[in-house]
């Protein structure tokens, strides 16, 4: 059965980015807005963010948005667009105050202001030393942001379609005119017709085997829009966070190092002093992840194995338990390790997509490397690429990105919807996706989706991880394409209509394979090392040839074409990056 709904604005995804946009849309009572989410909103992965949200409040020491912008540009290895970075860092202070006014329970300084702590890559006076810029609520900052935004949506009476999974985008006359969603409970398809759509569907860490991302992090929005002809920007830049729990990938926040925790190798040496003499353990993430790998490659992993220690034992029970209660609990639960007394075994974990759906600074989706805008189509949050993070994101800048650009997208959509008409739908809007889902269900023999997924994750971890080189990446491209072929013949055991997560997981695997391919193809082409993209065969940054954004397109017949777009550089000229 098919159902049709009509709205002015649709928000796809109920994480920080989606909810922030929804709040702004809902402030306009005449605007009919709905949020569609495959999870209950409070289950979104924004709730997992621990360490904090960056803003130069200067509550504890002098700070300025300009220093924040410089750090972000430097952190991005000069690939971030400086106009967008300026917007983000300048609007940061106001938006944090706004979140506080909405009720966000930040931790407090003794005089009652928002508490701040140091974080990787954040410095004062253009790199002179660490600064306290990360606004936090213990180690549950993301949880508090997600809760606060959801609470404000309830207050504003926003319409939610929970456990509705968007599976296709509707386009007519080069304009976005809605989406098709699969109602998880009934298995029915619903057509949502609207003037404007925001993609806020989050990241795709599930492409890799060791990841801090939730099972839901399958990049649905990026994959759907890519299939519908929208490019993906800078997909080769995927961040590996230095400190994931060994084997599990669960994140241990940089806040541990912000509070004074240090990394140690098998000799007990604080090795970051060698790699980053000024910022040490608080150098930016790509630098620290590579250092850890280097230590492991050179045999100084703990007991010669693939992990090192994160040591917080000198901080004392008071600091660890009060300021880092959740990670203390994770270590005790999953490792049987008490971080007050024992070091934590960690390894880099696939964490954050710098790349995504390209947008302008108002969240409007960009159709090509010339900046052509797609009417009615917006993206924000980890699904999008503005690009403020360039080749490497600084900690605390994603949560900031969500709220700044979620808000801007909400405002831009409201303005657009005020004058736009309701678009016509294409004929047979559910036809293509209904056929694809039926095809997936019809197969009666073959291998399970999980097997294909596992092979993809291992391949991507081995060859398109922290370090990459030509032959390895090529192997990954070939393997992913082979898996895409095998995907055509996988078998789904659950043939029912109700809550068929077996079917949805298989469909999500299709998205992951799509994004794995784009990531590997983009990485293969970029013959330099920049930020998170580290080529062993091209170890240097090459500004002469590669100071540019990648735009990947799916062309007729399935071929991927890569084109490039210049970086916006205003104040900060590219320099060598030293921490």
């Amino acid at each position: 059965m098919t159902h049709t709904h009509t709205y002015d604005a649709l928000v796809i995804g109920a994480g920080g980015a989606g909810l922030m946009a929804a709040i702004y849309l809902s402030r306009n009572p005449s605007m009919k807005t709905a949020v569609i989410s495959k999870l209950y909103p409070t289950r979104s992965h924004t709730g997992a963010a621990q360490g904090g949200i960056g803003a130069a409040l200067g509550n504890l020491e002098e700070d300025s948005p300009e220093w924040h912008a410089f750090d972000t540009v430097k952190g991005s290895d000069y690939l971030g667009d400086q106009d967008a970075i300026d917007v983000m860092c300048n609007e940061a202070v106001d938006v944090i105050i706004e979140l506080e006014h909405m009720g966000l329970p930040f931790s407090r300084t003794p005089d009652g202001r928002i508490a701040q702590r140091p974080f990787g890559g954040h410095s004062h006076h253009f790199g002179q030393g660490p600064v306290r810029r990360s606004c936090y609520a213990a180690d549950r900052t993301g949880h508090m942001i997600l809760q606060t935004l959801y609470q404000n949506c309830i207050k504003n009476d926003v319409d939610f379609f929970n456990e509705f999974q968007v599976v296709d985008m509707l386009m007519e006359d080069r304009r976005c005119c809605g989406v098709v969603a699969y109602h998880v409970d009934s298995g029915d398809l619903h057509i949502f017709r609207s003037k404007a759509v925001l993609w806020a569907t989050g990241g795709f860490g599930r492409v890799w085997s060791i990841t801090s991302n939730a099972v839901a992090g399958t990049g649905d929005g990026a994959a759907i829009t890519f299939r519908r002809g929208i490019p993906l920007e800078d997909m080769e830049f995927y961040q590996f966070h230095p400190t994931g729990i060994y084997k599990l990938g669960i994140l241990i926040t940089e806040g541990v190092r912000g509070e004074g925790g240090v990394l140690r190798n098998d000799n007990g040496e604080r090795f970051m002093e060698r790699y980053a003499p000024t910022m040490k353990d608080l150098a930016s993430r790509d630098v620290v992840s590579r250092a850890i790998y280097q230590e492991m490659i050179e045999g100084r992993g703990i007991g010669g194995r693939r992990f090192v220690y994160l040591d917080a034992t000198h901080l004392g029970a008071e600091v660890v338990e009060k300021k880092l209660p959740d990670i203390t609990d994770f270590c005790r639960t999953y490792l049987g390790v008490d971080p007050v007394k024992q070091p934590i075994p960690i390894q880099p974990t696939a964490h954050y997509a710098m790349g995504g759906i390209p947008t302008d600074i108002n969240g409007q989706v960009v159709l090509d490397e010339n900046g052509t805008l797609l009417p009615g189509c917006y993206a924000a949050g980890e699904a999008a690429c503005v690009s403020v993070h360039g080749a490497n994101r600084l900690g605390t800048n994603s949560l900031l990105d969500l709220v700044v650009f979620g808000k801007r997208a909400g405002l831009a959509m409201a303005e657009y919807c005020a004058t736009a008409d309701i678009p016509e739908l294409p004929s047979d809007p559910t036809g293509p996706i209904a056929a694809e889902l039926e095809r997936l269900l019809a197969q009666t023999t073959g291998e399970p989706a999980a097997k294909i997924r596992e092979e993809m994750q291992n391949t991507m971890m081995d060859f398109v991880g922290v370090y990459r080189e030509q032959a390895g990446i090529q192997k990954a491209v070939d393997k992913v394409r082979e898996l895409q072929d095998r995907y055509r013949t996988l078998v789904i055991m659950d043939k029912g209509k109700r809550f068929n997560l077996d079917l949805l997981e298989a469909w999500e695997l299709g998205n992951l394979l799509e994004l794995a391919e784009v990531t590997a193809v983009s990485a293969l082409a970029r013959t330099e090392s920049r930020g998170a993209h580290s080529r062993e065969d091209f170890p240097d940054r090459d500004d002469a040839n590669w100071l540019k954004h990648t735009f990947a397109y799916r062309r007729e017949g399935g071929r991927i074409e890569l084109r490039y777009k210049p970086v916006t550089i205003t104040r900060f000229q590219p320099k060598e990056r030293v921490y």
Binding site: T42, H45, A48, R140, K155, A214, V215, D326, K451, L501
Partner: protein
């Protein structure tokens, strides 16, 4: 690797059986596997029809509360070595079962919404943050941790007896605002909770506190709300 038997209470809304029934799965597990890993293994490689909610896999999204050996837990926060080689997994009690371990959470979220779970302060905000001392912030810290997993509400005999009872989770979320020094409407929430289906249905049985995966002192929070209502009535 060790052998384990996972006994799961199954229900297929489209199947022939009218009532839920147990099914055993014998699988290999590592002692450090989460119960969620065991369920995933079954779903991915043994029986794809097995259905349960999950997302973060480390106890912060609240998706996978279920009864594990008779007590409400998050499947992602319980390790196999802590439950032994025979584990029984069943859906939460008190909610309608949709399929296998998936229950209908709509009533639960409606109760949550009924307590005005958002900051109310209509005075003009200052230019900068509203100040709040660390002591005032501490006052409601415990109840900010709630992930709305429903483990508490579905372990509560008062809730089983009367589904109109607003339940511990909603009270926890009311507490979070009633004791926030920045909020100006605690009276309204106390009024709501002083209702027939409010805090007085709580018989201080402590199941909720034991069930809470965030170790929130739920019964204590409910007690504080009860006292605030009595205090308000006496002044």
């Amino acid at each position: 690797m060790a052998k384990a038997t996972i006994r799961i209470l199954r229900y297929n809304p489209e199947g022939d059986a009218a009532a839920p029934a147990h099914q055993d799965f014998a699988i290999d597990v590592e002692p450090t596997d989460r119960v969620l890993d065991a369920l995933n293994h079954i779903k991915w490689y043994v029986d794809g029809t097995l259905t349960f909610r999950r997302s973060c896999a480390h106890g912060i999204c609240g998706s996978d509360a279920m009864r594990i050996n008779g007590v409400n837990r998050l499947a992602c926060k319980v390790l196999m070595r802590d439950v032994g080689s025979r584990v029984t997994v069943e859906p939460l009690m008190g909610f309608r079962v949709i399929k296998d371990l998936v229950v209908d959470m709509d009533a639960f979220f409606a109760q949550y919404r009924s307590v005005l779970p958002y900051l109310i302060n209509d005075s003009r905000p200052p230019e900068r943050e509203r100040l709040q001392s660390p002591e005032d912030r501490e006052r409601f810290d415990d109840t900010t941790k709630c992930i709305l997993c429903a483990a508490c509400t579905t372990s509560c005999p008062s809730y089983w007896a009367n589904e109109e009872f607003v339940g511990p989770a909603a009270i926890v979320n009311a507490h979070r605002f009633i004791f926030d020094s920045r909020d100006s409407a605690p009276g309204e929430r106390l009024e709501i909770l002083n209702n027939r289906e409010g805090v007085w249905r709580c018989r201080t049985i402590f199941n909720c506190s034991e069930a809470c995966p965030r170790e929130i002192k739920v019964t204590k929070a409910i007690g504080e709300v009860k006292r605030a209502i009595l205090y308000r009535q006496s002044t």
